[in-house]
Symmetry: C2
Subunit: 356 residues, 2 copies
């Protein structure tokens, strides 16, 4: 930390701000990182026999987050998690990340440092380096872009396109939490707007709120798959919602699928809050919630035993030939075609199919 | 091209928009690109014996460009050039680029396609692939982020930090053009605001305007250096302005420098327009203009003959021991300390030093 604590970004300028950020990242996690911040480009020494992975994501204020209920440190952490999740979804190992921000005049140096503090915590957690970024002005709003580089052995890469009929469909953790977290925070924001002195009611909702504000990429699952010596035939991370992402995977693989409602992993608080407080069918929330950053992957049937009653992985269905379609079997045994649309369209569908 | 020409982005959605962009980039330039757009991350096969380079840049409306006088196709081209320039500045070869955009509701599908048409032309020019990106909404304004991956042999990399006393300081092309182009366009915008029917007066200013709107990265110089078997001891691209970027290089290398005003390469139209129409000293424009994306590099003195009277490279000074400072010698033989500040601060300095 510098002796003087700067507040105004104008006072220290772009280069001063970069220096402040650089100081926070003096430690290095990866032998591959020869040059991180501080030159025209990052320099990495990638070994032979591996493939290089690169992915980029935007996180924009008003679209992807609301600073009313998003602490900047959490936002920094989430920005990194979102990108690490993309590398995990290729069955890869993340190495370095660039985090670029465009800021309007509301932002101060301590605010930027709080954001990068979250970036730093995430880099520690995932064992990666911050290797670059750009800091610029914006009209209005905070715009974040992350670009991540990773690696994977050729024989371990998992594209979206490798699923075969008969493969089992697995999902990690549970789904729908981030969406319920979002609804809770939006409800509290409305209360706050009407009664600014009211205290936020967040007790009991810690899990869905953390799923929204501080999601963790499933790098542990990539490591688990390596330990088990299993390579998924196809993999994707669940960012848009399970139905949408499963359909992406099926389209890329030219296959169909069936998933079973009675297998869906849903957290009990998420289930109860959806049903009792927001009058939503938990299955709909599970299928269309999005932003949970869990992994969805397919494995040959012979590996099924490895994940029976596994605490982190649930088998929810199997891959079918393409002509058999893509559908869900409900608890009562009815078939429903999976819809690749976002929340609102899906809710409409559910209203028209009252059993759901 | 699809049969139906979509206009509204809402009508086709994010995935539809990505499909439209994908169709424009079905050709592939690089053997390294195993998977570009279409999975969670790009997949690259980087050979052994090379280092991987990664760089990222923001280009934001209202900060880096004004859509009043910036055609979207030019903007797409420029977005790629700016990133390619960063790879060139490491003496590297670009391989693939991600181009992410955040858009407000003004934008239509044809506008996005026009932008990516410029990206496509640039990818063709530099022989690289578009390997990913993200398309999202924004409050207000167009936000662009590019992340580029490249490669360089270990023995050919040029950091900012390798300059030694006695090395010659070289700059490619000419400088100040982009800044004069900006002043011309701002003048025309003011005229247009006062008299919307007036025709823009751009004849005769083609060169500075092209420098502003459609800069080209100096990949040709990277190739020239390879042909000549010269590795710069240090290199940086001139994006902030020569004085600022030269001081970056000297700081990173722990050296001083002297540059000679009578050597500065300035285009005659730029020189004349600065002096006669904007009442600016062309030397000031040269030193502080910025955005020209030329290369600034240092070479051992023994290579000096290679660049005497070279059409693309000018030797403008030499590296000194750090204690001798960083300064310019004017045409009349006076010494002026180089100032690392942007345009306005520098102009103030020049007013107080009337010989300049």
């Amino acid at each position: 930390m510098s002796k003087k604590e700067y507040i105004n970004i104008e006072e220290i300028g772009e280069f001063g701000l970069i220096e402040e950020i650089k100081k926070m990242f003096h430690d290095k996690h990866r032998a591959e990182t020869l040059m991180g911040i501080g030159d025209d480009a990052a320099v990495l020494n990638m070994n032979n026999h591996v493939l290089t992975l690169l992915s980029t994501d935007n996180l924009n204020e008003g679209v992807h987050f609301d600073l009313f209920y998003t602490p900047l440190k959490h936002l920094g952490f989430k920005s990194v998690s979102v990108s690490v999740s993309d590398i995990c979804a290729m069955n890869g190992e993340p190495i370095g990340i660039t985090v670029s921000i465009a800021l309007d005049s509301r932002f101060t140096v301590p605010m930027v440092k709080e954001f990068y503090e979250g970036v730093h915590i995430a880099c520690e957690k995932y064992g990666i380096d911050l290797i670059g970024g750009d800091t610029t002005g914006s009209y209005k709003g905070l715009f974040i872009n992350t670009s991540i580089i990773g690696r994977v052995e050729k024989e371990r890469i998992a594209y979206r396109s490798g699923a075969h009929p008969g493969d089992l469909i697995c999902v990690t953790g549970d789904l729908g939490g981030a969406y319920i977290g979002l609804l809770i925070m939006q409800r509290e924001k409305e209360v706050h707007i009407e009664a600014p002195r009211a205290t936020l009611k967040l007790e009991g909702y810690e899990y869905p709120i953390e799923r929204l504000l501080k999601p963790e990429a499933r790098l542990d699952i990539v490591k688990l798959l390596r330990e088990l010596d299993v390579v998924p035939t196809a993999m994707i991370d669940v960012s848009d919602g399970l139905a949408s992402d499963l359909l992406h995977l099926c389209t890329a693989s030219n296959v169909g699928c069936v998933i079973y409602e009675d297998k869906f992993p849903i957290d009990p608080v998420v289930y109860r809050t959806a049903l009792l407080e927001f009058n939503l069918n938990p299955t709909t929330v599970f299928l269309s919630g999005g932003e949970d950053y869990e992994l969805l992957f397919t494995i040959p049937e012979k590996y099924g035993d490895l994940f029976e009653n596994h605490s982190d992985v649930t088998i929810i269905g199997k891959i079918l030939p393409q002509e058999e379609g893509t559908y869900m079997v409900s608890k009562s045994g009815n078939k429903y075609e999976l819809i690749a649309q976002g929340w609102d369209a899906f809710r409409k569908y559910m209203r028209e199919n009252p059993e759901q």
